[in-house]
Symmetry: C2
Subunit: 308 residues, 2 copies
């Protein structure tokens, strides 16, 4: 079981999940626990010879019932590839899986916030290369979600809606613009190639999205990630996080606030150099960037076009 402790100076919960110290760490390719189980071989974590998308409880969980949830979402039974190389149909199906897990986990009384995410690349600490993401069901509303609610207060409405309007007005940092989904490098990006993928209409969660919007979301996410891989002609590490409404209130409550947007935090600032979170980021909470968002947007837009 994990333990929560309140960090007084930072005003936040810290989670201790001590069993995770022994988690599987970059196993040899033939021992991938996310591969399908092959006939005559020891079972992997997925007891099927083939599958489309698999979701199961993380064996080394940060949270577990009745104190939250930690799930693994395996995107494909093929070991190689990435989110970018999934077929469009599979990527679209993944949006429905995300939506379903948000609904199921969000309905649990011990889950107040559902966070769907993917860590990609050893640069962000990935321990398994098989294409997969994760879902955490937090037993509390975490700090970043609280900051987003504070942003809503400051702008006097939905902050992601207001920011999207500003970005569309400014236009300089827009990467992809579709009927229902827009991708851009934010005006005050913390990471050199940070990008946000935002629903154009106000949608508190994936449950509020139309099927066409989910399809477009999968298309824009894949186009962006293919652009990332094209940018420096190498697999591009990132942390991808789906932000949406907390699940403290029922899905049909008018009190529910939030707006579906997917944020990418890539650690590369050049083809070879990483951005480290050091003195200023850790000690002051202030990001220092050496890249202007407008310049990143130009480079990323070109890379997305080349990869299309």
């Amino acid at each position: 079981m994990s333990e929560l402790r309140f960090n007084e100076l930072r005003g936040e919960q810290v989670v201790y999940a001590i069993d995770r110290q022994d988690r599987t760490f970059l196993p040899a390719r033939e021992h991938c626990p996310l591969d399908p189980t092959r006939l005559g071989e020891p079972p992997t974590e997925i007891p099927f010879a083939a599958f489309q998308i698999a979701v199961f409880d993380n064996r080394f969980p940060a949270f577990q019932a009745p104190g939250g949830a930690a799930e693994v979402v395996v995107y494909t039974d093929r070991h190689d590839g990435s989110f970018a190389t999934l077929s469009p149909q599979r990527a679209q199906a993944l949006m429905w899986v995300w939506r379903h897990r948000y609904q199921e986990l969000g309905a649990r009384p011990d889950v107040e916030y559902v966070m769907i995410f993917e860590n990609r690349g050893v640069e962000v600490g990935v321990t398994l290369h098989h294409p997969h993401g994760q879902i955490y069901g937090y037993p509390f509303v975490p700090p970043v979600a609280t900051l987003e609610l504070a942003a809503d207060e400051r702008v006097g409405g939905c902050a992601p809606c207001a920011l999207l309007a500003r970005e569309l007005g400014d236009a300089q940092r827009i990467l992809i613009e579709r009927d229902g989904v827009v991708a851009y490098v934010p005006h005050a990006a913390r990471w050199a190639y940070e990008a946000h993928v935002v629903m154009r209409e106000h949608r508190a969660s994936l449950l509020d999205c139309e099927p066409d919007e989910l399809r477009e979301l999968s298309q824009v996410l894949q186009a962006l990630v293919r652009g990332y891989d094209e940018l420096f002609e190498r697999p591009f590490p990132y942390v991808m996080v789906v932000h949406q409404a907390s699940t403290c209130e029922p899905a049909d409550s008018p009190a529910r606030r939030g707006h579906v947007h997917v944020e990418f935090y890539p650690p590369l600032r050049t083809a070879e150099k990483l951005k480290f979170l050091a003195g200023s980021e850790q000690g002051a909470g202030t990001f220092i960037s050496d890249t202007l968002p407008e310049e990143s947007a130009v480079a990323l837009r070109e890379a997305i076009a080349r990869a299309a």
Copy 2:
């Protein structure tokens, strides 16, 4: 010049210092810009053949007047070694340099918060190996300082004082206890081997410390860092940050709040494995640790004793 932009969703300033992209990156040993200038060779950043401690403006600044400050503090003219290997006299003198820079920079109208820090090791992005630290003079009070003020409000007094009392009462996580200075692994550490070095008496800034306290501070910091290096028998990477009162109010103002404590954020969770800030830390703002602070404290206490 650097540019500040307000990140609405996070409620924080982001700093763009685009000249930093070209900063000196792990130069060959014989081209170290922090070495003293040798007779007949091109000048380094320090135009002297020998020195004790050197402080100068960062050539690749995150901030510069009249919008803040960024200084480099070179601990010694010897290229090899580290904060841990400085003579006790030099380490003690460094405390007085810190105090002086806090006073000078804090007196400037464009500096609201002075942060003295050291990034150590390539694991936290160090670009020069010569023993040195840095000082940023922020033109605003940064988020972490604001969180510490909020902690004061919550505990109804000085939060570092209250936390120190709790740690001394609990005793399990104390690393070093001296008359004027105590080191411990905090109850809710975010990093496996996080440690805080705290003034026992309430001291808002280094300016409020007695000479004996500054001497003890240097001794405890060195003992801790030697323990870190002993722990895994390797140079131990860390981010070290001196937290003290903001400089918005004059040093003699009763409204000034803060308490001198030095926080260490080391990225190692085992001798070889790093803690990465990935999905949960970046997307939710919640740290997941696989190490209990009590266990770290035992290991660190033993390492400090071995290194003494």
